[in-house]
């Protein structure tokens, strides 16, 4: 593939060379560079204007190489190492001296040690430092950009608004974008020209954030602003605009975190709902399968770190089948040893599974200790992107939602399309009749129980990325997922999806304003109310028992 690209590129170059006059010394692409240097070296040239040209070249998206070049020239200027030759070309002094145009060692003809280098003054030094920062704003490394943004912010009076505005538009990292916005705002708002102030207000309103809002609010409090009706109205409009966007952003982020919580709830409640629908059994140890899934992920992570460091980031994908299989095996073992003796006695099953759950928690405490486990997040799940102002999509939550949807789809397919699913549905509807028709109900139970436990294990995998992992992590979740089952109706896949979505969102919408407890209490009240009307849940299955 890369060979192919290189060939094409070579052909293009060849064609360009043929089309061009072919007589020019420098290649076509270096023309802007030469022009910048020429402007700089012109005897009565405006050095500041030349610097602006240089920055413009450095930040133009055309060629990444230009950025590195411009950065080096600026650095040479700051070090006082750039000197102009008699024929208005430039060299970078050093050993050996470099031709500024090509950055190749200079030939004897161009290098002349007698040339005095250009020594910038204090103002020019600042401009140069802003210029290098501005060029760095387009660097691919986040840390470089971050440092550059701080530098620009420090000398905000000198920044080039066009360049910085473009940098803000390209910036994915919200922190950097905010820093730059603030720098722009300070510059524009402190200007004496009314038009610039108005433009700055507008510019700040374009990139709404909490910091921008604070800057504008401070600005609005100034006497000179309050005296001027135009400015006052503009600021009020801008503030209103920002507030609107911030509200939207906040609503979106709550929606998003509710969605990710709903994803985990869905994975947990799905298994619970299948098992409850099929066997009328509530598994109080279900939360502990989440915990086992998380610990299995931990073991996979440790193993990959020790033996396959090259593929380390993929551990989360390796953990998915491992956690599923481990938890499914534990679940089937539990079914075989305990649950199958208790089918006609659902209340006793509660106690038996509770006993299993405290034993499992204690066991994991003895084996791993009761502290929170430290996970190294895979690189591709780190960070996130800003979708709207104030709304930041983190990749780990996106992963949780994606995995939940995928697994829900898979479970739905298994139940609807496979033979196992058919047998499960038959047993759920009318166990005795199914058995008469030859459905091996006991085996179906065992497999279903295993699948339910495995799904809880997958929830554990997801939780390693968005919550803390410790032996008692499952207990809090299990009450919530029971609520999902009670609300959605046992055994109903659609009901489970709808009610986990509803409960996840309700939880996250109430929590920021009234606290987690109010959220839990509200959910409980809601469920008690809904159950008044629909005792079997929202989506009760039609069974014939």
């Amino acid at each position: 593939m890369s060979n192919f690209r290189q060939t094409i590129a070579a052909l293009v170059w060849l064609a360009l060379a043929l089309c061009g006059a072919g007589a020019q010394a420098a290649p076509v692409a270096d023309m802007p560079r030469a022009a910048v240097l020429k402007a700089f070296c012109a005897p009565d040239g405006d050095k500041a204007a030349a610097l602006t040209q240089l920055v413009a070249l450095g930040v133009s998206a055309a060629k990444p190489a230009d950025r590195a070049w411009a950065r080096q020239i600026v650095e040479a200027m700051r070090n006082g190492a750039l000197s102009c030759t008699a024929d208005a070309r430039a060299t970078i002094q050093g050993t050996p001296p470099l031709d500024a145009l090509t950055l190749q060692p200079a030939t004897d003809a161009t290098a002349n040690p007698a040339d005095t280098p250009y020594v910038p003054g204090i103002l020019m030094m600042r401009k140069l430092s802003v210029a290098s920062a501005e060029i760095d704003l387009f660097a691919p490394q986040r840390d470089t950009r971050d440092a550059a943004a701080r530098q620009v912010d420090k000398f905000f009076t000198l920044l080039d608004p066009a360049v910085v505005a473009r940098a803000i538009r390209q910036e994915h990292d919200p922190d950097i974008a905010t820093t730059l916005t603030l720098a722009m705002a300070k510059r524009g708002l402190n200007s004496d020209v009314k038009a610039e102030r108005l433009a700055a207000i507008k510019a700040v309103a374009e990139v709404p954030s909490q910091t921008a809002r604070t800057a504008l609010a401070n600005f609005a409090a100034q006497d000179s602003v309050r005296a001027d009706p135009d400015l006052r109205d503009a600021v009020q409009a801008a503030l209103h605009h920002i507030d609107t966007w911030l509200t939207v952003g906040q609503a979106l982020s709550i929606l998003f975190s509710g969605l990710s919580y709903a994803g985990v709830l869905l994975l947990t409640a799905l298994g619970l709902s299948i098992v409850f629908g099929l066997m009328g059994v509530i598994n109080l140890a279900h939360g502990e399968f989440i915990m086992i899934g998380a610990y299995a992920t931990y073991l996979v992570e440790r193993f990959m770190q020790a033996h396959l460091p090259g593929l380390f980031d993929a551990y989360i994908f390796v953990a998915i089948p491992v956690a599923f299989i481990v938890c499914a095996a534990c679940g089937m073992l539990l079914e075989f040893c305990v649950i199958r003796f208790l089918y006609r006695r659902p209340l006793e099953t509660l106690l038996a599974t509770w006993a299993v759950s405290i034993a499992l928690i204690k066991l994991i405490q003895v084996l791993f200790g009761s502290q929170n486990l430290e996970f190294v997040t895979p690189a591709f799940l780190n960070g996130g992107m800003q979708v709207a102002p104030g709304f930041f999509v983190t990749y780990n939550r996106l992963f949780a939602i994606g995995l939940a949807v995928l697994i829900y789809g898979a479970t739905f397919a298994v139940i609807r399309l496979t033979k196992l699913g058919l047998l499960m549905r038959a047993t759920t509807q009318l166990r005795d009749m199914a058995r008469c028709l030859g459905v091996p109900a006991e085996r179906v139970d065992r497999v279903a129980f295993g699948v339910g436990a495995g799904l809880a294990g997958l929830a554990g995998v997801v939780l390693t990325q968005i919550a803390s992992v410790n032996p008692s992590m499952g207990t809090g979740f299990v009450v919530d997922s029971f609520m999902v089952v009670v609300l959605g109706g046992a055994g109903s896949l659609a009901g489970t999806a709808v009610s986990s979505l509803a409960l996840g969102e309700i939880n996250q919408f109430i929590e920021p304003f009234y606290g987690a407890v109010a959220a839990k209490v509200a959910v409980l009240l809601l469920i008690v109310l809904i159950i008044q009307k629909r005792p079997q849940g929202l989506f009760a299955l039609k069974t014939r028992v």
Binding site: V338, A352, A355, V486, V517, V528
Partner: protein, 376 residues
Amino acid sequence: MNTLPDPHAPQRFTLSSLAAKWLGPATEACVAPLLLLVALYLPFAYFVLPEASALHLSLFGINLIGQIMCFALLALALDLVWGYAGILSLGHGVFFGIGGYLMAIYLLNGAYEQTHVLPDFMQYMGASEFPPLWKALSRLDVTVLATIVASAAVAAVFGFVTFRSRINGVYLSIITQALTYALMLLLFINDVGLGGNNGMTGFTQLAGHPVAGATTQIGLAVASCVLLVAAYVGVRYLTRSALGRALIAVRDDEARMRFLGYRTHTLKLLAWCLSAVLAALAGMLYVPQVGIVNPTIVSPQLSVEIAVWVAIGGRGTLLGAIFGAILVNGIKFWLTAELPAVWPFILAGVTLLIVVCFNNGVWGTFKAAAGRERQP
């Protein structure tokens, strides 16, 4: 081949023969006087017997017995609804907690009267005066009345809403568990004003007597025993009355009882409220004995454990519930001191064994064996 047993055959030594010999109605009738005897023995053992005597009880031991008696009362309360009305509540800690917290408010009233220093958690929250609302609970009799009314009211509202819409079985258990979980989270918050995470402590006097004093503690332990006996006798009478029969019928086939014209949800509500009041009274006696109340007494953990005591002892047999609570908590106090890491495994193992193999619990199994022996 079905032959009548030979009455002259030598009696073989089996579990059922043992049970038949020892577990008659006479034995059951002995339990209440036995518990009263314990109540009488406690002050005797502390004040009269010399410390060197093997029968002497330390204050710590008496305090422990008192706490266990509270748990037994709690188990009795749960057995009334689970064993006789078929309602497995995994949230009886709520009522226990109502009793405990109201008692703590009363005790803090007493402490404030004596010292005029606000409790630590109030100072921490920046309060400058004792909450006026709390002063309503400055008398013991008012507090007891308030506890009974509050627990019955909460139980009535919750029970009315759930029983009327015919929520039963596992659904009801789960909702009660969510209820106690929500209450625990609520009490964890400092702003609720009930001490938050740390709970309430620093009690000094109970009806004019120093809380930590020997007389008060022994008095509380004796009161726990006596209340347990009274509750046992009362509940036993209730379950053997016509009302109790109706309850058992509801437990076994609610639909049929409804068709027969009984208002089953009223019957259940009655048992539910009575059970809640008993649990709240147990909480009232428990808190001054441990000297602190905090949100863990309404944790789902404790509430499930109550059901486990009842299951181990034997549900539907009131003595079994009392026996189970005493047995499990006795072993728990002993083992958590000796082998704290092993206790959860033992509790889990015993629970599994009982639930899977001996559905009727220890007492119930013996009783059934005795029944078989007497009527082969």
